[in-house]
């Protein structure tokens, strides 16, 4: 395929901006005409996929719509009903499939997500709090001036700063954000381990249609997309989930079980933490370095995602149920990894809420108090098909274990656990790497709301703004 037209793509689709501050604004359209005026005014401001050869901007702006939002923008009915069913239904309606029950059910969500009032997501990323505020003020002024949208709520997120340095950490202390897939035609620096595994052991970009509408996917098919083609083309779907993290519960669980794991010392505690995720907390893959974290691997992008599980079928290095092995099994299911190429997602996201230093935590803070603090991660996934990609991963690989021969077992940290569930860590005869079973699994993560969004191309935004969407 030819190179993608980066000027027609929203930049957020092509790259994680790697900016430490973000505000996600949730808009409600009061009047379709005025909303279209607002979108029209936003058009020249929206950050595209153009390269930043002139230097990185201070802030970025992107926009995406819910199905309710597109209805209120009065898109033609023939277009509205041509969207994939899961997008039309929205995340709340899909709760049964996603396992959003119990503590993850709608009663526990932030009010803004409970009644389908959110019509659009306006995502602002910035290099500084000042730039963030300035951009948000500008956006609010535009909304007020045009009368195009009402701000229902907003969500601030920010990278965790430790020792004055911006980090890629999340609240459980793991380094996050490794290994987003590469796609054909998307120009960025690529590293081994991204994209799809080839028979000769090298890695190649995934088909563009796994990320963008209007292009062939890994099956050689066009993803299910709305009509007309030009409305869909160069767009994608975004899953937004606010995931609260029970930091006290996590640390208490880690303390409790690591006391009985291996030597029961500080290294055993870190090793156990690494067995939950499949990476040491500095990001070193346990598959590559099972005994110790290795900054030489973690900080080298040519090594940090370049591994497979073929020689670790028993899971003695990386447990079969470890998070990164579940959600990206690489070659673990055989067939040279081909079974997973249509189940990949691109992740964006940032933590929200204050970070609690671990050293303080075990001694000074009550776990319940740590849990109660509003903090977690804003998880955003981009994919061409929410049902085939995100929902499949959530349903089959997070909330179930059959594909990995783990029966009903769920992902330890992400799963919504019931009574009698276990997390099994495979081991060997090395006393520092024993087989180990954790029981009485609490819920480490709780859903606080979210929605499915359509993230259109610049062309499509223009068509929406000018009322030119014609499904014929």
């Amino acid at each position: 395929m030819s190179r993608l037209n980066a000027t027609d793509l929203q930049g957020f689709v092509l790259r994680g901006y790697n900016m430490p501050y973000a505000r996600y604004c949730f808009l409600h359209f009061e009047d379709s005409q005025r909303a279209c005026t607002l979108i029209h005014r936003l058009l020249p401001i929206i950050t595209t996929g153009q390269r930043w050869d002139q230097g990185k901007p201070q802030s970025t702006v992107n926009i995406a719509f819910t199905h309710q939002g597109l209805i209120s923008l009065e898109l033609p009915i023939a277009t509205l009903i041509s969207f994939p069913v899961e997008f039309q239904q929205g995340m709340l309606e899909r709760g049964g499939i996603l396992g959003d029950t119990g503590v993850n059910s709608v009663e526990h969500w932030d009010p803004v997500w409970r009644d389908g009032q959110v019509h659009a997501w306006l995502g602002i990323h910035a290099q500084s709090p000042e730039a963030l505020d300035a951009r948000a003020t500008e956006m609010q002024a535009l909304m007020t001036e045009t009368g195009g949208a009402r701000l229902l709520d907003s969500q601030d997120a920010a990278a965790i700063v430790m020792d004055g340095k911006v980090t890629l950490k999340e609240h459980f202390g793991y380094t996050d954000g490794f290994g987003n897939p590469d796609y054909l035609g998307v120009c960025r620096s690529t590293h081994p381990g991204q994209g799809k595994l080839m028979p000769d052991g090298t890695w190649a970009p995934l088909a563009t249609g796994e990320l963008l509408l209007g292009y062939a996917d890994e099956a050689g098919e066009l993803p299910v997309a709305p009509v007309p083609h030009i409305l869909a083309s160069n767009g994608t779907f975004m899953v937004y989930r606010k995931l609260h993290q029970n930091v006290g519960t996590f640390r208490h669980f880690l303390d409790k079980w690591s006391a009985r794991y291996g030597a029961g010392d500080a290294l055993a505690r870190e090793k156990l933490a690494s067995k939950f995720i499949g990476r040491w907390r500095d990001g070193t893959p346990v598959e590559l370095s099972p005994d110790l974290p290795d900054p030489g691997i973690a900080q080298n992008p040519n090594r940090s995602t370049d591994f497979t599980y073929g020689n670790d079928a028993a899971g003695t290095r990386c447990p079969i149920g470890a998070h990164i092995r579940r959600v990206h099994p690489r070659d673990a299911f055989g067939f040279e990894g081909r079974l997973i190429n249509r189940r990949r997602i691109t992740r964006r996201g940032l933590p929200y809420g204050p970070f609690a230093l671990e050293e303080d935590a075990s001694t000074e803070h009550d776990p319940a108090e740590l849990d109660a603090t509003d903090r977690g991660v804003i998880f955003m996934a981009l994919n061409a098909s929410i049902s085939r990609q995100f929902e499949f991963v959530q349903q089959q690989w997070i909330s179930y274990g059959n594909d990995a021969h783990l029966g009903n077992e769920k992902d330890l940290l992400m799963g919504s656990h019931g009574e009698g569930e276990k997390y099994v860590i495979q081991g060997d005869t090395n006393p520092a790497n024993p087989p180990f079973v954790c029981t009485s699994l609490p819920n480490f993560v709780e859903l606080r709301g979210g929605e499915y969004f359509f993230l259109p191309s610049i062309t499509a935004l223009g068509m929406i703004a000018m009322g030119l969407v014609d499904p014929r």
Binding site: G96, L98, G99, E391, Q395, Q396, Y400, G407, S416, G418
Partner: protein, 210 residues
Amino acid sequence: MANQSGSVYGLTLLSPILDDERAVPSHDLQIRKYLATLPTGADSPFAIAPGTHLARLVVMDDVIYVGMPACEEHLKSKYLVFESNCDGDLDTYLTGLATKVPQHLDAIWSHCTGYPGASDVPAFLRYMKACQIDTTFFFAAVNDKSVTDTLVALQTQRAVADFIATHQGMDTAQTQREFIEFLKILKAAPPPAPGVMGPHRDIKTGGRNE
């Protein structure tokens, strides 16, 4: 041999459904109605009769014309399709069905041409075999163990996993004593009943995603 994969037999039957204008509702609809209310759990006929790993009953009305450029074709009859991955040899399996759940078989197959009834077992076997076609694909999740062996293995797996979880880190002599006791109880336990699924899963799966 196409119908046999290790110890598992793959049975595929196509039984022509009676075409009788006087029947109200028609025979195919009567089969559909009966199948729609057939129990799927422990009361399923395939749980009551021995040896079924997975069974499926389908009413096939016709081949569907999908429009040009396909040519329009039709079946000579409507068919009841019965597919089963089962244990052992075919005669034993079919005899098990005929003797354990004859009322279900009769209620379903009495709407099919030439069905002799399940009470005459030799005639029933001849009829079913006359309807048989070769199986070329098996249900992938069926392994080479019998239904009972599979159920016992699952029971053992759960029990051993629970034992490990409650005994890891325990003094070895005590673990051994308790393991010997545990084994005694486990070996004496009856095999679990077929058709009873594992723990309830609080998530929708299957064909509900689209």
